[in-house]
């Protein structure tokens, strides 16, 4: 009587296609999203392959080759980005600098998100004093300007990459915690959570198996945005002299070293500056696309807008 066997034959497969191929399919349809993703991946790749793609080391001094401009601006293909005041190949420094900058950003985001997500889950799910405690800690921390606090700590203890990572992580967990807490608070009252509780699911499993997967898309977007922000933060700190120290290269440090040569070696500022800007912007573009992709309603709206635009173009 209740013939539901049609469910087996219906081709609803399109709604359940492997999420990975769907992801790349959609990504390839968005110019900005694809561009953003590719550029970020490219910088990661270049950083990873740094020793294999550079002719010179990042710290190889060649005092005879000082301040050579980049390739199409009067220089040679020997030094694509030119050299700095000590004859070091800028391309090599940028590429090795990428390793440091991206590594720092990656590790910081990892640590900050782990702390932040856990804190947010606990605060949102349990509420009451745990929530109050965590929120007050966040409020207190946010009361101090982040960069200033970082500078003070780095100055007092002495800058190092490890300390830099620690300081930036301490600075960065709050935004994850706040977002997760907010989402957990709104999800907590969902009926499927109540159903899980009545089924006998313990709080830990509810947090990780029921709540967290429903936050994953939002979290991913935040993580990418934070990645971009940490790159900038590290660059700023290194620029000021509190981050990565010479002779290690990082984008911010290269930028700092170049500021004295604005007239004689403009490329020493422009190139690292542009590299930072382009990477950060690409990460933001990718995050923008990700935000729409992760939310089916936004995707439909976006699709609708594009459809209208295409129709208008056809009609004009």
């Amino acid at each position: 009587m209740n013939d539901l066997s049609y469910l087996e034959s219906e081709d609803l497969a399109s709604l359940d296609t492997k999420s990975v191929s769907k992801f790349f399919g959609e990504l390839s349809r968005s110019l900005t999203g694809l561009l953003g993703c590719c550029v970020v991946l490219l910088s990661i790749l270049l950083g990873a392959l740094a020793p294999f793609i550079t002719k010179y080391g990042p710290n190889d001094l060649k005092l005879g080759d000082r301040l050579i401009p980049p390739m199409f601006f009067g220089g040679s293909s020997d030094h694509i980005f030119g050299t700095d005041a000590l004859g070091r190949d800028l391309f090599s420094r940028v590429v090795f600098g990428a390793r440091v900058s991206l590594f720092v950003a990656f590790v910081v985001v990892l640590i900050a998100s782990l702390i932040g997500i856990s804190a947010g889950l606990l605060a949102g799910f349990y509420g009451r004093w745990i929530d109050q405690l965590i929120m007050r800690i966040i409020d207190t921390q946010l009361a101090f300007p982040g960069i200033l606090l970082a500078i003070v700590i780095l100055y007092a203890i002495g800058p190092s990459i490890t300390l830099l990572i620690v300081v930036l992580s301490i600075n960065g967990w709050m935004v994850h915690a706040r977002m997760v807490r907010g989402l957990v608070l709104s999800l907590k009252t969902s009926e499927f959570i109540e159903a899980a509780e009545i089924a006998g699911t313990r709080p830990l499993r509810i947090m990780f198996r029921h709540i967290l997967p429903n936050l994953s898309s939002m979290l991913l977007t935040l993580v990418v945005l934070e990645f971009a922000r940490i790159i900038l933060a590290e660059a700023a700190l290194s620029f000021l002299g509190y981050g990565v120290q010479a002779p290690n290269a990082s984008w911010g440090l290269i930028l700092a070293e170049g500021q004295n040569y604005l007239s004689s070696g403009w490329w020493l500022v422009m190139i690292p500056g542009m590299v930072i800007a382009v990477t950060v912007m690409s990460a933001n573009l990718f995050a923008s696309w990700l935000r729409v992709y992760a939310d089916p309603k936004l995707r439909e709206k976006q699709y609708g807008r594009n459809f209208d635009r295409k129709v208008k173009v056809r009609n004009d």
Partner: protein, 321 residues
């Protein structure tokens, strides 16, 4: 011959989505005359609400009307300028959730007088007086004080009365009501339906009542259109429809509707599910659930035909002999 106010012909509404184009309606023809109460009955996915929005030109982009016509007193409602003129003035609409249709930050008086001032050219003081008259007409006690209140100070039932007042403010000839009582308690529903009934009679306003509740239809409407999967499957005056439903879906709907005066264990469900918009259907959209479906039903889609005076059905098994 009843004078025809609204003529909807072969309306086809499409929604482009990421997963393909969905047709909310396929070929809908509806006519509403003066002083008439038409019921449009259907379950979710039948296309009844979208049809109402399409009549008023309110289908949200990228959804669009791809074919068919909508005429109001001869004027072409598909022309946005015409629709803008008619909408809210000659044709008014009330929705299921009155809270969502009113500005929570504006006093009731201001919202209703907006209609009067902008659409009927009243001045502010005349409008205020008229608002109080209207509130009284819909049965709101102490209308003078209540007109100065905000929507959140009203209960659901009261708010729906305010909506009716607002809709009738512009003296429309047609009121489209989309599930106006679905969110209300049954005792309040009875009050609202009685109010609509009295007012529509007294003011000579036609009502298009869109609902899934057969009880509301039976008590309120003169004529009924039954919708399924974006099509009209049956059209008939109210009493004959319930006495002898022709389309298997109409019959199934009536038999699966519980009634307070009906013995226990007597509802007969309709097997299966309404078609999801994902599928393109060959033949009659109801064929997979119909116990009378033949091979023809699965291949050819039946057209709506008049099998006896005023009785229209779209079913191969009900053809005129």
């Amino acid at each position: 011959m009843i004078e025809r106010l609204l003529e909807v012909k072969n309306l086809k509404i499409a929604f482009p989505t990421i997963s393909g184009i969905r047709y909310a309606t396929h070929d809908v023809t509806i006519n509403v005359g003066a002083n008439e109460r038409l019921g449009v009955v259907g379950e979710s996915g039948s296309g009844k609400s979208v049809t109402a929005l399409a009549i008023l030109g309110l289908v949200q982009s990228p959804g669009r009307i791809v074919s068919g016509s909508v005429r109001w007193c001869g004027k072409d409602m598909l022309d946005p300028k015409v629709a803008q003129e008619v909408r809210g003035r000659d044709i008014a609409m009330i929705f299921q959730d009155p809270m969502a249709s009113l500005n929570p930050l504006m006093k009731i008086e201001k919202q209703i007088s907006e209609v009067l001032i902008k659409r009927r050219g009243f001045d502010r003081s005349t409008a205020s007086k008229r608002v109080i008259e209207l509130l009284e007409m819909v049965g709101i006690p102490s209308p003078q004080e209540r007109s100065k209140q905000f929507p959140f100070e009203f209960s659901g039932g009261m708010l729906q009365r305010v909506m009716i007042a607002s809709a009738l403010a512009s003296e429309p000839k047609l009121l489209i009501a989309d599930e106006p009582t679905t969110a209300l308690d049954v005792t309040i529903q009875a009050q609202i339906l009685e109010l609509l009934s009295t007012l529509s009679k007294d003011l000579g306003v036609s009502v298009m009542m869109i609902t899934h509740d057969l009880g509301v239809v039976a008590e309120f409407c003169d004529r009924v259109q039954v919708m399924y999967a974006g099509r009209i499957v049956e059209r008939a005056p109210c009493i004959p429809l319930f006495a002898e439903p022709l389309h298997p879906y109409s019959r199934g709907l009536i038999e699966s509707s519980p009634r307070v005066d009906r013995e226990a264990n007597s509802v007969e469900p309709i097997a299966g599910e309404p078609p999801s918009h994902a599928l393109e259907i060959d033949g009659c959209p109801f064929s997979n659930r119909c116990n009378e479906s033949s091979s023809r039903c699965k291949i050819e889609e039946p057209q709506l035909v008049e099998v006896s005076p005023q009785r229209w059905v779209g079913c191969w098994n009900r053809e005129k002999k």
